[in-house]
Symmetry: C2
Subunit: 145 residues, 2 copies
């Protein structure tokens, strides 16, 4: 075995690739907070924007909480307000900015990674403990019922 | 139209079923916080438990942060420490409690609902804006390329 190969094998034992495996850096705090996640998902579902009162009802938030969270999202450049009209009366609606939409999609990909990790883990755990699972039946040489 | 039917139709306009549609009550705060979500996913992936140093590396946390978050999870009854042995030397490992596993699975189901909502919304938005999408081709009476 060459020296380089030996070194590579040794590096593998330390498993540096596991470092930060569950850090989920893509779950950015501006979006991840539970109330803001609800606001962002409401807005991504309503491209034409939503009224303050719609958001309040959809996300079950008080006026104060909703204002505070919208401010965080506006300061981060993810949400904007704009003036629309309904039956000639002006309205203020909230909607995602293009940046907000892009960042939300990135956030959702990271969430999908969390779910994939959890699914892999629970499938492995079930296979270990459920003695009647296909994999354990196979291990015991049994055919499926 | 009967009076009852009229009333039902009127109620539908107000759409009370949308109230709290995006509240995501299942995203409980003890698990949802980003660092704790990483800890919980690490532990669900390692049934035999993990050392403090393993968790630190997997989740990219400092000693102080990791201690603080483990304490929150222990106080909520989701994580426990237990004494194991490695080469006859005692070790303290952290693992999920049965309650912790159950609550984590409930949490993950709610995450799946967030992703499903986001996926539905973005698919609808893409169909609206992508003039070459199958649905818009169909609307324009074009067959697929």
């Amino acid at each position: 075995m060459g020296r380089a190969k030996k070194k590579a094998a040794k590096t593998k034992v330390v498993a540096p690739e596991s470092s930060g495996r569950f850090a989920y850096d893509g779950l950015e705090r501006a979006i991840h907070e539970k109330a803001r996640l609800g606001i962002m998902t409401s807005l991504v579902s309503n491209q034409e924007g939503l009224l303050f009162s719609d958001l309040k009802e959809l996300c079950c938030l008080t006026d104060g909480n909703l204002s505070r969270h919208i401010k965080v999202l506006q300061d981060a450049g993810l949400v904007e307000d704009w003036k629309g009209f309904k039956q000639r009366r002006p309205q203020t609606r909230y909607r995602l900015t293009p940046k907000g939409r892009k960042r939300f999609l990135g956030y959702v990909s990271e969430l999908e990674r969390v779910i994939a990790d959890a699914a892999t883990a629970t499938a492995a755990a079930n296979a270990k403990t459920d003695t009647n699972s296909p994999i354990n039946r196979k291990l015991r040489g049994l055919s499926p019922a």
